[in-house]
Symmetry: C2
Subunit: 404 residues, 2 copies
């Protein structure tokens, strides 16, 4: 086991790394008139790593970006629109995505293949290309090294607040910065979420190493959250590294590599946590951990069954620790479960042991459940498999937001 | 292929078959003072068939009944309590279940092994045995050939109305009757539901044939419904046949066998439909069908992913045909999906073809979605696999009912 790199704290700000500019504007895609387009650009071409949705139904933008990653591996930037997902739009949607990217590439003066595109919003609706085109020309004019905050706001859909974090570390004596902007609060499930995240760093990083590090960071962050168990068609995490910090190229073993990994993990974890905290209608953040599963795969099945059960999630809305519903969902999960070995603790207070109640006073548990944030640790007592999930409650407001 | 037996209509009444008596009383288990215990008894020992929950966490009652089915295969009756599930109650709960059954057996004068027991309600709570005992003595006195309706009401939990259906057919010139009483409106998912169903017939039926027919009927009824995707710890379907109609023993090929199967399928289907219609907080019944899947297993995965998606179910609350969420859930299901081959129709109106919108007017779809009942047919265009699911919408009221 290699030692885990020291944890890095993030600041909740969109301070862009050297050489990056961004902008967010209202292009009229959202009926509300709120900002709905963003552009992020690096002054020099950046190396790119990315992960995409595992959904078999993939938005036109996801297919385009995945092809670009395979072909080029470097980009100048990304243009993003919210309001319309450009998913399930067929060949016409694919052409729209390409044109959105081409228009942005022309506006900033780079090769078409080096401009990515991301969309989020309603599925099955064609993009309003007139608005997109005029939005892009506004964006190109508004690009600024201080435009990160505007961009973070423009990519929001049902999000109630922007999500952005920045971390810094040293490599070669040079200060490097990694900044992430993200959106997502519904249609969120492990294996990404209905989420977009754009990560930028001014560090020079080896491309293969960067892709591997991104995959690992996503596995521990965006793939460990669930709002409603629905994996979206548009999920994209993009990481650009433009090398403007002037450090020697980072790869495992190099000075500053551990700092890069720590910054990447800290920023992705913070963004993921922001998403669950801002989960549609959610009032409570619940840190679910399953240990003692027969295997890691079993632990994942168990933690998802619990964290995505309607009945478990609605029970959290009240303050009643209805642990019977946790037992029930463990029982129907695909994980091997022997009820006589199950233990459940709320914020460390062991409530179930050997599958039955330990007799903790109801009032004590209600105090824990009344908090905005608490943990539930489940031990299956069968092996060494472990898994973690950041979950939230399912409120009447969630239904209200989505009954459209 | 053998021809499907003629369909039989059921009457929505609890007319008990010959030789059966039932009762329902308030034993004080429910704080509301509503009826909460039921007893169903046959004057002569009945042959029994049954299916139980597939949940790995099984209530004490389920374990007891399953053992009895394996050992004896005949029963005089069943005592049922609502309010407390007697699940996750360990060895003490197992002893309670046994005592509940023994007390009922003594009250009606039969061997302990021939009295079954079923519980439904909150998990993890011990039965209040004093109330159970006095409830049983009240029940024994109240037993009556017209007590079916009282029994159907006493087994309700969050159900808003009793569920009972009766069907008759001829065998050997004798009129046979099959009657079912059931409860269930939440914690309902395929592979049974949080549901109890007690089926009685006065026909004489071969035990093995009866078990097989019950399994097939359950597969087409209780295993094709979903309220919230949560399979419960207590699900039990029990079928008793006491032979009092005087017919020659039914088995495949015998006169009246097809009538028996048709009655069994009609009653179980009607009860299952009642459960979804009465789904917690549900306002709409949606008949989901997936065709064209690569395999039957794929069709099942697809239909469940759609019918259990929070986002799909909440979209039905409104009147907006947000078919993009159906595409999304198909895409993350375990079924093989090629979005360019997917077709979706609402009440026969083809809304998606080749994975994209056909351009049906929104107003026309909204009219369908505004109905209390509609169908969604999904064709995956990949093979011959088919599956069916009766689903319902997920309303704010569902959350309200369960936030405890």
């Amino acid at each position: 086991m290699k030692p885990t790199p020291k944890k890095i704290r993030t600041t909740e700000k969109a301070v862009l790394p050297k050489g990056f500019r961004a902008a967010g504007v209202a292009a009229g895609l959202k009926a509300s008139g709120a900002a709905d387009m963003a552009l992020i650009v690096s002054d020099t071409a950046a190396l790119v790593a990315a992960t995409f949705t595992t959904n078999q139904v993939r938005a036109a933008t996801v297919r385009l970006d995945a092809a670009r990653l395979a072909e080029v591996g470097a980009a100048y930037g990304v243009v993003v629109n919210s309001g319309q997902a450009n998913a399930c739009t067929g060949a016409a949607g694919a052409a729209d995505a390409k044109e959105e990217a081409r228009t942005a590439a022309e506006a900033v003066g780079c090769a078409e293949e080096m401009m990515w595109v991301a969309s989020t919003g309603r599925i099955g609706v064609r993009l309003e290309m007139d608005k997109i085109r005029s939005g892009i020309s506004k964006l190109a004019k508004a690009l600024s090294p201080t435009g990160g905050e505007d961009a973070a706001r423009a990519i929001m859909t049902t999000d109630t607040r922007p999500k952005r974090h920045t971390a810094t570390w040293k490599a070669d004596g040079k200060t490097c910065r990694l900044t992430g902007l993200a959106k997502g609060s519904g249609m969120i499930a492990p294996n990404m979420a209905t989420m977009l995240a754009f990560l930028m760093t001014d560090a020079a990083v080896d491309r293969r190493s960067m892709q591997k590090a991104l995959g690992e960071a996503v596995a521990k962050s965006f793939n460990c959250i669930s709002v409603d168990g629905d994996t979206s068609t548009n999920d994209t995490v993009m990481l650009m590294a433009n090398g403007r910090a002037g450090n020697a190229k980072l790869k495992p073993g190099a000075d500053g590599w551990d700092g890069f990994v720590a910054a990447l993990e800290a920023v992705t974890a913070a963004l993921a946590e922001d998403m669950v905290r801002d989960g549609e209608g959610a009032k409570k953040l619940v840190r679910l951990r399953v240990t003692g599963a027969k295997s890691a795969a079993d632990a994942k099945e168990a933690v998802r069954a619990v964290g995505e059960s309607f009945l478990v999630k609605t029970s959290w809305v009240g303050t009643s620790p209805n642990w019977g519903r946790i037992m029930d969902s463990l029982g129907y999960s695909k994980a091997k479960v022997d009820e006589s070995r199950v233990a459940i603790a709320y914020d460390g207070v062991v409530t179930v042991k050997g599958g039955v109640a330990t007799g903790v006073k109801q009032a004590r548990l209600e105090k824990i459940l009344a908090k905005n944030e608490f943990s539930i640790d489940i031990d299956l007592g069968l092996g060494r498999g472990e898994a973690y999930l950041l979950a939230c409650d399912c409120t009447e407001e969630y239904v209200g937001i989505n009954k459209v």
